[in-house]
Subunit: 181 residues, 2 copies
């Protein structure tokens, strides 16, 4: 089978590249570049693993993520804007994904009785079943490797990423420089 993305480069080679960039353009922060590259490579790897698992079931990572975000027991349903925010997908892509899930019988769109601009999203029984069936395999292949981190590291990573996301939110419009905590 063709391998589209075979291996990760050594971290030393990445550092060498970043050093060349920082030498070339003073004012660039080496560590910030490294953090960006690391997040990109990790996300790319996790996405690739999800594709591998889900391809066998005619699913895609983005629509599967949307599906599991819609798992709901007695809570308020999500609307497409909320789903977009929670999955990190654009509004247009969220519409496309919802179209796909509705067409497959996994999702139902209901008009919101209180605000006719809004749509309430409900997982259909087939969607719940798909989630129940596929999430263990995705968990095993995509999430379990994160357990290689110690519990302390996972806690630290979670706290740091939450802080970072909160900061990006505040910084969203680029109006105010991010303040150090």
């Amino acid at each position: 089978m063709n391998k589209q993305h075979v291996s990760h480069p050594s971290l030393d080679k990445i550092q060498d590249r970043i050093d060349a960039i920082v030498n070339f353009i003073p004012g660039c922060d080496s560590q910030l570049l490294m953090l960006r590259v690391l997040m990109k490579l990790i996300t790319a790897d996790l996405n690739e693993r999800m594709r591998e698992v889900l391809r066998e079931h005619d699913f895609h990572p983005v629509s599967f993520t949307a599906l599991i975000m819609l798992i709901n027991s007695n809570g308020a349903p999500l609307n497409p804007s909320e789903l977009s925010d929670m999955t990190g997908e654009s509004r247009a892509n969220t519409t496309r994904i919802c179209d796909e899930l509705v067409a497959s019988g996994y999702l139902e769109r209901h008009a919101n009785p209180e605000d006719r601009r809004r749509v309430d999203l409900f997982l259909a029984p087939a969607g719940e079943e798909a989630a129940r069936t596929l999430l263990p395999a995705v968990h095993s292949r995509v999430l379990a490797p994160l357990k290689s981190l110690t519990a302390t590291d996972r806690d630290g990573l979670e706290a740091t990423l939450k802080h970072l996301l909160a900061t990006l939110e505040v910084d969203k419009d680029g109006a105010c420089p991010a303040a150090s905590r």
Copy 2:
């Protein structure tokens, strides 16, 4: 101007969703799901910021990332496979990106004298100039917000992500379970 992705959801709402998922499918680790969601949202946000900055200069995040990875002073040139590994893009997409950069006069492909299967990639002067011009703006809009993390947090994040990437590498073929350190 249309906003395709307006705001981040509150972390509480994300946690509520994850709790619903874990209730629905026992065996799922709440924290691993949260880590995955956080990385996805942060990466999506950083990508969106890059698009905003680069759009004004007729550039795209993926081709710009490739461009800066090719900055090189006296080092060995990269080939497309190495560039693919370092940017997290597939081989096919790396070819497409190189096509685009060559067409714009930013990149040159040279045959490797020692191995005719290989291509050596060299930044053209116009590419160096584009990098020099654009990286400060990208740095300011995309990377500088990471400075909201304390130096200790950034160090911890870097160490953790490096460890995680190394583990994903070992775990690549899904053959051996990831070992805790």
